[in-house]
């Protein structure tokens, strides 16, 4: 190849592709390029190598362990928006495992819900539906119930005297046990269920308090079930509508509800700022389950920082992205711990959404149940982990911060 000053055309080509060639050399190189297949081939090779370098994502991505090690050695917290490779745990918790976990959780929810709503009462309800369930029986047909036990007056052989089971059904047992210690201050409305429940407590106490032999017990139980019947679901609703002053000896002084819709948000910063703000808005629905647990769904919108390939430069870049997600969630509220209506709670979620594969997160904080209103206010620390893939590589992004919620209970 000919020389142009001190450089060969091959060297000039390298310089041209590196953006280091200027002026007259460029024009002469182009002229040679047009006529030399060897130079053209060399250019193609060099361009192919440059493309391969651009696709070398792993080389440009410091591993999570290295980033963590640097910041921890310096005593600094890991900032949001720093790109890193997924950890070993993330690799183990790959997409298949995540899908399996979701299915297991959903299955658990389904089984738990089925078993809960399919308890004895529910089955009895079906039977009792043929007996005018929720209708009050004619009290004149009830057997007389002694107010005190007198083995002699009962005229029964002693070996027939048995201890009284509280009830034949689990929810009746629960209901009576709990309500026997409760002072009902207020009933929210004249709902027939609530009304009947009150009668039920009274009737139960009358019928069973001193029934100590099995024959009386079962006949009275039958009568009792004819008076009115509430299945588990109805019990929950009923219990939610009663304002208790005390609950198993603990002062709670608040309304208990079966359902709750809420709005939660933290709008104080963007994802790349260093103050840990979440910059998210979330709406959700909770259904009370058991005493302290609630399960539900929630939907949120927030900003995450993730890696993209820039369309223009074809370089890997880190950029903020608004994502929308939906999640199933489980909340535990320690209702027995109560200070002026404020109780601690913890909430976990598992979600999916746009621009990421999986989200896992939790909240922990306190909720103030306002005693005179069906409204609660919450404040909590929130942590969310978003996992995503880009060019077959797994990454994750963590967000944490404080947010505030408004809950309407019904």
């Amino acid at each position: 190849m000919k020389n142009i000053n001190e450089h060969t055309t091959s060297e000039l080509l390298t310089m041209m592709l590196d953006g280091e060639l200027r002026g007259v050399h460029e024009a002469e190189l182009f002229a040679d390029l047009a006529n030399s297949s060897e130079l053209q081939s060399q250019m193609e090779h060099q361009l192919a190598v440059k493309e391969a370098v651009k696709s070398d994502v792993e080389a440009f991505t410091p591993p999570l362990e290295a980033t963590n090690a640097i910041f921890s050695q310096l005593g600094y917290t890991l900032p949001p928006g720093v790109p890193y490779l997924a950890s070993v745990w993330d690799k183990i918790f790959n997409r298949k495992v995540a899908v399996t976990a979701v299915l297991l959780i959903m299955g658990t929810f389904a089984v738990a819900s089925y078993s809960y709503f399919s308890s004895n009462d529910h089955n009895d309800s079906t039977l009792n539906s043929q007996k005018n369930v929720l209708a009050i029986a004619d009290e004149s047909n009830y057997p007389s119930v002694p107010t005190t036990y007198d083995p002699v007056a009962s005229n029964l052989p002693n070996n027939n005297i048995k201890s009284i089971p509280i009830s034949s059904s689990r929810s009746s047992e629960t209901f009576i046990k709990e309500n026997s210690n409760q002072e009902i201050l207020h009933q929210e409305n004249n709902d027939i269920v609530a009304d009947l429940s009150d009668k039920r407590v009274e009737k139960y106490n009358n019928v069973f308090a001193n029934s100590i032999n099995t024959s009386n017990y079962y006949s009275n139980l039958m009568t009792f079930n004819q008076v009115e019947y509430l299945n588990n679901s109805q019990f929950e609703i009923l219990r939610s509508r009663i304002n208790y002053k005390s609950y198993n000896g603990n002062e709670i002084n608040k309304l208990r509800f079966a359902n709750s819709i809420y709005f939660r948000g933290a709008l104080n910063s963007n994802a790349t700022a260093f103050d840990g703000g979440l910059n998210n808005i979330v709406i959700g629905y909770f259904r009370n389950w058991k005493e302290n647990f609630s399960f539900g769904v929630e939907f949120g919108k927030e900003e995450i920082t993730r890696l993209f390939t820039d369309d223009f430069s074809n370089q890997l870049i880190s950029a903020d992205k608004n994502v929308i997600w939906g999640a199933i969630t489980l909340k535990y509220e320690a209702k027995s711990i109560n200070f002026a209506g404020v109780s601690p709670f913890a909430q976990a979620r598992l979600g999916f959404g746009s621009d990421f594969n999986l989200m896992m997160g939790f909240n922990t904080g306190a909720i103030w149940n306002i005693s005179t209103l069906p409204v609660s206010l919450s404040a909590s620390y929130e942590f969310n982990n978003f996992q995503y893939t880009h060019i077959s590589q797994s990454y994750n992004f963590n967000k944490s911060g404080f947010n505030f919620g408004l809950h309407y209970n019904f």
């Binding site: 450089h7 091959s10 310089m15 081939s41 090779h45 696709s55 792993e58 790109p83």
Partner: protein, 188 residues
């Protein structure tokens, strides 16, 4: 007050000498700006992921420790690359034996991310380059530095840098060409 991303590298470097809260934010910003290219240099120069990771960590720790208000820090990435380069060269001189090409192809390269066969061959070719060619190639192709910046970091003359980059690319071409020309896939 300006947002962190509005400060230039020099201002952020000076902030490293201020109180802890400011220094932490400044360091995080500098890290997010330059960690990719520094890691790329270490990763490509050393080859082994674990060893590259150690040198990468050490580079940023030393960089942070070097913070000094009196220092005229005109080019932070060049300074970081200089630290990384010195650490890499020291490491290579201590540890690395030369490996023939045929053996190299069968080494466990710890490149779990490599889906691209050309990239795999390119990595092998880079590993086989002599140090003086390897460093200029990585600084040019992976770190995007100009010839003049490479000359500053390596302490070589500009003309030497030009020649080394060209020769590095010629050697890489010799290894990559068979794959590119006939499309034959080299079996790993």
């Amino acid at each position: 007050m300006k947002a962190l991303n509005e400060y230039n590298d020099k201002e952020l470097y000076l902030m490293l000498t201020e109180d802890r809260r400011v220094a932490e934010k400044a360091f995080a910003e500098l890290y997010s700006r330059h960690s990719s290219r520094i890691y790329a240099f270490c990763r490509k120069f050393i080859g082994s992921k674990e060893e590259a990771q150690d040198i990468f960590q050490e580079t940023f720790i030393r960089f942070h420790q070097s913070a000094d208000k009196k220092k005229d820090m005109s080019n932070v990435p060049a300074y970081l690359l200089t630290i990384a380069r010195n650490l890499c060269l020291n490491h290579a001189r201590r540890e690395k034996p030369s490996v023939p090409f045929e053996e190299h192809m069968y080494e466990d390269r710890d490149d779990t991310n490599e889906k691209n066969e050309l990239l795999s061959i390119l990595n092998t070719a880079i590993d086989l380059l002599p140090e003086e060619f390897k460093e200029v190639f990585i600084l040019r192709e992976y770190d995007g530095l100009s010839y003049a910046e490479i000359a500053e970091i390596t302490g070589e003359k500009l003309a030497t840098v030009k020649i080394r980059i060209h020769r590095a690319k010629q050697r890489i071409k010799e290894i990559v060409s068979p794959y590119l020309e006939d499309g034959t896939k080299i079996e790993n």
